[in-house]
Symmetry: C2
Subunit: 119 residues, 2 copies
Amino acid sequence: MFSDILQGILKETAGGIGISLMGYDGIAIEQHLEDYEAVDLQLLAVEYANVLKEVKRAVEVLETGFMEEVTVKTETFLVVVRALNEEYFVVLTLTADGNFGKARYLLMRDAPKLRDVLS
Amino acid sequence: MFSDILQGILKETAGGIGISLMGYDGIAIEQHLEDYEAVDLQLLAVEYANVLKEVKRAVEVLETGFMEEVTVKTETFLVVVRALNEEYFVVLTLTADGNFGKARYLLMRDAPKLRDVLS
């Protein structure tokens, strides 16, 4: 179930190199990685779990409502993170020239489906 | 100098409510806030400095190149953060229906100018 949705998002996103459904504890439930050797995508997902925890904490302090999406752009990668609920989130990694708008759109579109499967 | 650039970005961005030029130590060099009472924008900037530090650390561990931009979307706000150099970054806060694309574009466009003024 997870598998189809995640693979669908990865395939539809130009420049997509990896997608993970993860818990805030840094443990992945499901992962799909393209054949891409320049970065350890598993390590990337774990590091982003730490980042997300910090963002979640900040958002709670600020009382600005549920955290929906976090993106990070570096010289070589675009990372789009979509929060699903209090425990889980999805991380989609693209190359720097990947389709950022499409990545954001697909994650927003499919978040309810992933939430349903999780509950 | 900072002042004109920052105010220009804030005014040109629909939904823009605050902009800060900050250090990773959480101290603002310059801030412009619209008359908006729903959130403590000063606290917001400090919290985002903590988030940025965590992202910067992750990016360094992952060796994925210089961190350029971080965005956070919650139910009530959009926050766009543009890194300038090893010490400073800009935080632009918009209402949830603000012009996210314009915010990203203007910060990217004016980052070199801000960098010049800082050095």
